[in-house]
C-alpha cells in the first residue's frame, strides 16, 4: 500500500494498485463529533475531482464528502450504513467510505502528504 494523501477538505485516499480507498481524516471525525449517518454513492457512478460524493451527518452538522480525485466508484463500505460510528472509531482504517478508480492518476500528485496535511490542520 502506498501512503495516504489528503485534501484540504479533510478527505484521505490510499492507493492499492489501480484503485484507491477514500475516507475522512481522524481530525475531521473529531471535529464533527459523533457521526450518526453516512450516505454513500452508488457503485459504478463517475465523479469529477471535487464533486460531492457522500454525506456524513453528525450530532452537530451534516457535511459533504468530496471526491479527492476524479474517477469511478468501484466499491463502498456497506458496514457504515448500519454502524456509522465506525468513522469515529477508525476514521483512517475501518471507517473508509468508498473505493475509486482514478481517471487521471496525475490528480493524486496535487494532494497533500501526511506531513503537509498535519501542517494544514495546525493552522
Amino acid at each position: 500500500m502506498a501512503d495516504k494523501k489528503f485534501t484540504e477538505d479533510h478527505e484521505w485516499i490510499e492507493m492499492d494498485g489501480i484503485t484507491g480507498r477514500v475516507g475522512i481524516s481522524a481530525y475531521a471525525q473529531e471535529q464533527l463529533g459523533d457521526i450518526v449517518f453516512v450516505e454513500l454513492p452508488e457503485v459504478g457512478t463517475t465523479f469529477a475531482k471535487g464533486d460531492e460524493v457522500a454525506v456524513v451527518e453528525s450530532v452537530k452538522a451534516a457535511s459533504e464528502v468530496y471526491a479527492p480525485v476524479g474517477g469511478e466508484v468501484v466499491a463502498v463500505n456497506a458496514a457504515l450504513e448500519g454502524e456509522p460510528g465506525l468513522v469515529n472509531e477508525s476514521a483512517e482504517e475501518d471507517g473508509w467510505f468508498f473505493e475509486i478508480k482514478p481517471a487521471d492518476a496525475g490528480e493524486l500528485d496535487e494532494l497533500m502528504d501526511q506531513a503537509a496535511y498535519n501542517d494544514h490542520i495546525a493552522d
Binding site: 459523533d34 450518526v36 449517518f37 451527518e57 450530532v59 452537530k60 452538522a61 451534516a62 456509522p84 460510528g85
Partner: protein, 527 residues
Amino acid sequence: MMNKQGRPTNTGDAGDTGSAARIETATGHYGLDHNEPLIFEQGVPGRSGVDLPEIPDAPSRLGGLARADQIGLPDLTEPDVMRHYVRLSRKNYAIDMGLFPLGSCTMKHNPRLNEKMARQPGFFDVHPLQPESTIQGALAVMDELTHWLTTLTGMPAVALSPKAGAHGEFCGMMAIRAAHEAAGEGATRTRVLVPESAHGTNPATAAQLGLKVDSIPATEEGRVDLEAFRAKLGPDVAGIMLTNPNTCGLFERDIRAIADAIHDVGGYFYCDGANFNAIVGRVRPGDLGVDAMHINLHKTFSTPHGGGGPGAGPVVLSEALAPFAPHPWVVGDKDGLHLVEHDGDQGDDAPAFGRLTAFHGQMGMYSRALTYMKSHGTDGLRQVAEDSVLSANYVLARLKDHMSAPFEGPCMHEALFDDRFLEGTGVTTLDFAKAMIDEGFHPMTMYFPLVVHGAMLIEPTETESKQSLDIFCDSLLALAEGAKGNDKERFTAAPHFAPTGRLDETLAARKPNLRWSVAQKPLEAAE
C-alpha cells in the same frame, strides 16, 4: 435511577456531582416534578372519557371494511388525559416562562391582544370554502396585511400562502425559476450562489428545485467575500440566496453591490428574511435590490414556535417576479373583495406559476401578525428593530471579554460567540449550553453558523428588559468563570436540575426509537 416502567428518570445522579443528593420518595415524584409514565402505560381496560350507548345490532354499511382488531389506544378518563398533558407541559420551557435566546429564531413575546383578535369567530371559525360574501372581514385582513408587508419591504407584491419560512423560500425560488423559464433560460440557469453562513434551508431549497448549489466563502470579518462572489458569476447563474442581516448577526455592507452584480448577469436576488426583525421599519429590502424575500410572520410579527399556532412565510416579490406570484391573492372592486384563484380570473393579468397550498394560507397567523403591526404602528415596529439590536449589543458588550466573540461588533439583533474561551477547559459548547438549562434558561443556538468553531448564537429580542438581560448575562459570566475555574463536572454532567438528565443524542440519532409497543422492552439506555 429507573421509573416503574424501567426508564431512567430525572437527574438522580446529582449526588455524584457534589449537589445535594435527592431522597427517594415513595411515588418517584419530586414535589411538582412528576415522574410521568407514557400515556400508553397509564391505560386501564374499561376506562373511558365518555359513556356511549351500545351500538345497536344494525347491518354494517362498511362493505367488509369494518375494523376487526383493537385500535391499540389506551383506555383513559378525561382527568387521566388532562393531568398527563398538563404534567408534561410543566416539564417544558416556553417563551411565556422566560428568556429564550435561540439565535436566528426571534423568540419574542407573543402579545395577548393577538390571541384575542385571532379568536374572533370571523377569523377563528372561518372555512376556506365559504362564499366570498360571508368572508369579507377575513379577506380585508389579507388585503390589509398585503398592504403592510409591501409597504414595510418596499416591494410591489406579496404571495401570502406559504406556510413557513422554508416554504416561502421554495415559493420565491419557484418564482425565480418561472421568470427564467419565461425568458427561455430555464434550462441553462441552473446554479445558485449561497454564502457559507446561510441558513441550511437555503441550499436545501435550491437543491429541492433541482438547482446546483455553489457556496461563497465568508471573509475574516464574517461577511460575504465580494471578490469570491464576483468570480462565481456567469450566464448559468439563476440567482443568489443571501440572509441579511446574516447568521453571524452582521449586516451585509456590500448588499447593493451584490444585488447589482447579480442583476448584471441576469440573475435574481433571493433574500432570506428570517432576520427581518433586526431591520423592520428601518430598511426596506426593495431599496437593497432584493427580488424575493420571505417574511416569517411567526417571528418578526410575534407568535414564535409554540406561541399560539403554526407558521406563515409570505414572500414579497419585485416588479420582475410579481407576475409569477402563486394564487391566490385578494383584489377589490365596487362589490367588495375577491380571491383570485385561477389564471384568467378578473384581476389576474399574468400566468401564476401555480399554487402552493390547497387553500389560502394560515388565517390564524394573518390575524395575529396584522394585530401586531397595527398595535405597534410603523413607529413601534421601527422601535422593535432598534431595541432588538440594542439588546444584542448589550449582551455582546457584557460578555465579549469573558467569552470569545469571533467578529468585531457592533452586531445586529444577535450576538455570536465561539468556543475559544473554553479552550483547554475540557468543556464544550454543548456542555456549556446544557449548563444553561440548570441556570433556568433555554440554551442558545449552538454549532451554527458553521463558519465559526463551536458557535453560540444568542438572540435576546426586544422583549427583554435590562433586568432580564442582566440576570442572563450574569449567569453566563458565572458559567464562563466556572468553566475556566476547573469546575468541569458542573458542565459535562449537566443538566443536573432538569426533568431528565443528559440525553444520549448519538444513540437517539443512530437508533431512533419512536414508537411504543406493548412488547417493547424498556429503552436500551436503561439496561
